[in-house]
């Protein structure tokens, strides 16, 4: 049935891609585990507490202890829950959050897939993340979970529009949907990065990213003061762990994308500065991308510790009446500017 001699190369390629994705996923999951530790520490220090400090030196083994505890806990299934969908939902939330990493360029030439429409691919996958939460809300057969899922569906659909429009600005400047081409279009030092000409769009993108991942101050989906725990109120043990992983890897993905789309990805901010030439640390490389991503990951925690939760109608107002008009106007301004300067690609 299979012609192994001619297809061997193809199968080898498939095996290679699988291997490469493991090289991305394993570090990612470690980062996500320690992201939860960082969150508790950072918020702890912001609130003048110590945060976790019991397990291991300075509490460094806390994430491992948490993971072990969560995995060994009993998985409770509500009696009236929809059996199949109840178990599919956490996976449906996790897969898109991990799948987005396929097109992320880490350094020049270092990526799993060089997709021409990479930007669209990422946008499509982030919008798929909504299904995990909606299915969870419905399959749990619980009022709280369903209310959380309803809020989430409306919130994600609204902010996706603002997010998409913000990315249109990036597309206009870079002239490409390919993520590595977008990074290369920003070469020339910190002043050539897209966050300067696209400052309003950058703000809209970052805030929409926080809203898309249902993080504070936009976390009405969980809203423990109103909905107990929102969509995952009925989940325990491994199911809850998967939702947790999905949320944190989605946050990491948004941080990584912000670094790539608006802050030049792996490019060094000192590019083209005479005194920085020859210093290997200041050269472009993956460490710059890691630094920028880490900064935006920190911003997520910083926002959570700083801002009080928005009311649901305020979230909708901000999305539809502030962000979408801002992006539309800025796209128009960009178009006119590009026409006047004559850089239309």
């Amino acid at each position: 049935m299979f012609d192994w001699t001619t297809d061997a190369a193809v199968w080898l390629r498939v095996a290679e891609i699988l291997l490469h994705s493991i090289f991305i996923l394993v570090p990612l999951l470690v980062v996500v585990a320690y992201y939860t530790y960082a969150e508790r520490k950072v918020i702890g220090y912001i609130q003048m507490r110590l945060g976790p400090n019991r397990v291991g030196p300075r509490g460094l083994f806390q994430p491992i202890a948490d993971a072990l505890k969560l995995i060994t806990k009993e998985v409770v299934q509500p009696q009236q829950a929809n059996r199949g969908l109840f178990y599919i939902a956490p996976l449906a939330a996790l897969v898109p959050a991990l799948g987005g990493w396929a097109v992320i360029p880490f350094d020049e030439g270092v990526w799993l897939a060089d997709v021409d429409a990479g930007l669209l691919y990422v946008l499509a996958l982030t919008s798929l993340g909504a299904y995990g939460i909606i299915i969870a809300g419905w399959a749990s057969n619980s009022r709280y979970a369903l209310l959380g899922a309803m809020r989430q569906a409306a919130q994600v659909v609204s902010y996706e529009i603002a997010m998409g429009f913000a990315l249109v600005g990036v597309l206009m400047l870079a002239g490409s949907l390919n993520l590595s081409a977008i990074v290369l279009a920003q070469s020339g030092g910190v002043l050539s990065w897209f966050f300067l000409p696209l400052l309003p769009l950058f703000v809209v993108y970052l805030v929409s990213g926080v809203a898309e991942t249902n993080r504070a101050p936009f976390d009405v989906v969980e809203g423990e003061s109103e909905l107990v725990a929102g969509f995952h109120v009925e989940y325990s043990g491994a199911g809850f762990t998967l939702f947790f992983l999905a949320e944190y890897s989605a946050m990491t993905l948004v941080a990584a994308l912000t670094a790539i789309l608006f802050f030049g990805g792996w490019l060094s901010p000192f590019e083209g500065w005479a005194w920085a030439e020859g210093l290997p640390v200041l050269d472009s490389g993956i460490h710059w991308w890691v630094l920028k991503t880490a900064f935006f990951m920190y911003c997520f925690l910083w926002f959570r510790a700083t801002f009080p939760r928005y009311r649901y109608d305020q979230i909708m107002r901000l999305g539809w009446k502030a962000f979408i008009p801002v992006t539309l106007i800025w796209i128009f301004v960009l178009g006119v500017a590009q026409h006047l300067i004559g850089v239309v690609r």
């Binding site: 049935m1 498939v14 969908l85 429409a117 669209l120 946008l123 499509a124 909606i134 419905w138 659909v157």
Partner: protein, 195 residues
């Protein structure tokens, strides 16, 4: 059989199963989820044809936005329609299905059905090629479609924005205008007699 062929048959099998499940399942939510699966597999098939832009757009627009709202509505309605309520619709449903099959056959069977544009043999970027045609040759049709959609959006908003007298609404413009003088009153600490 190569890897591509294997992928195609696997995806086609999933697509057909999901499509059949969409129309046969009694539970509305499950049917809607199967529809999502069918759309997703169709997008994967387009991807196999190197139509990556259309494929991702199908996922982004239909699965990412339209079907989210669809699922949302389906979840609000009854889980299953009783058999006696379904019965009167059998005949009309069959008629509509027949009509659609006839229409599909008429379109797909005609000799005019096929690409109007020659597919460029050196596809550098699918997205770029599509954009180049869409904004030059078909600019007028594209703009007309955009205007039609805009009218639909305005219409939908106008339909939902009817003011009903007895409603209590948040008025954010009034809320942000609130000042200390009208909300806060300082007293000297003694309780005032009830008036």
């Amino acid at each position: 059989m190569g890897f591509q062929a294997l992928l195609f048959y696997a995806l086609a099998a999933v697509l057909l199963t999901a499509a059949v499940a969409t129309v046969t399942l009694r539970c509305m939510v499950r049917a809607a989820l199967c529809l999502i699966l069918a759309f997703f597999t169709a997008a994967m098939l387009w991807m196999l044809l190197h139509a990556e832009f259309l494929s991702i757009l199908l996922v982004l627009v239909y699965i990412g936005a339209v079907l989210v709202l669809f699922l949302f509505v389906v979840m609000m309605v009854e889980r299953e329609t009783p058999a006696e309520q379904r019965a009167p619709f059998r005949l009309s449903a069959a008629l509509v299905a027949l009509l659609m099959i006839a229409e599909l056959l008429a379109v797909l069977g005609s000799e005019d059905f096929g690409p109007a544009q020659e597919v460029p043999s050196t596809i550098g970027s699918n997205t770029q090629a599509l954009g180049a045609v869409l904004y030059t040759e078909y600019a007028l049709a594209f703009e007309a479609a955009a205007v039609a959609l805009l009218i639909a959006i305005v219409g939908a908003i106008a339909l939902t924005l009817r003011e009903r007298g007895e409603q209590h609404r948040q008025k954010p413009s009034e809320q942000t205008q609130a000042s200390k003088q009208e909300r806060l009153r300082l007293t000297d600490g003694r309780t005032e007699p009830p008036c």
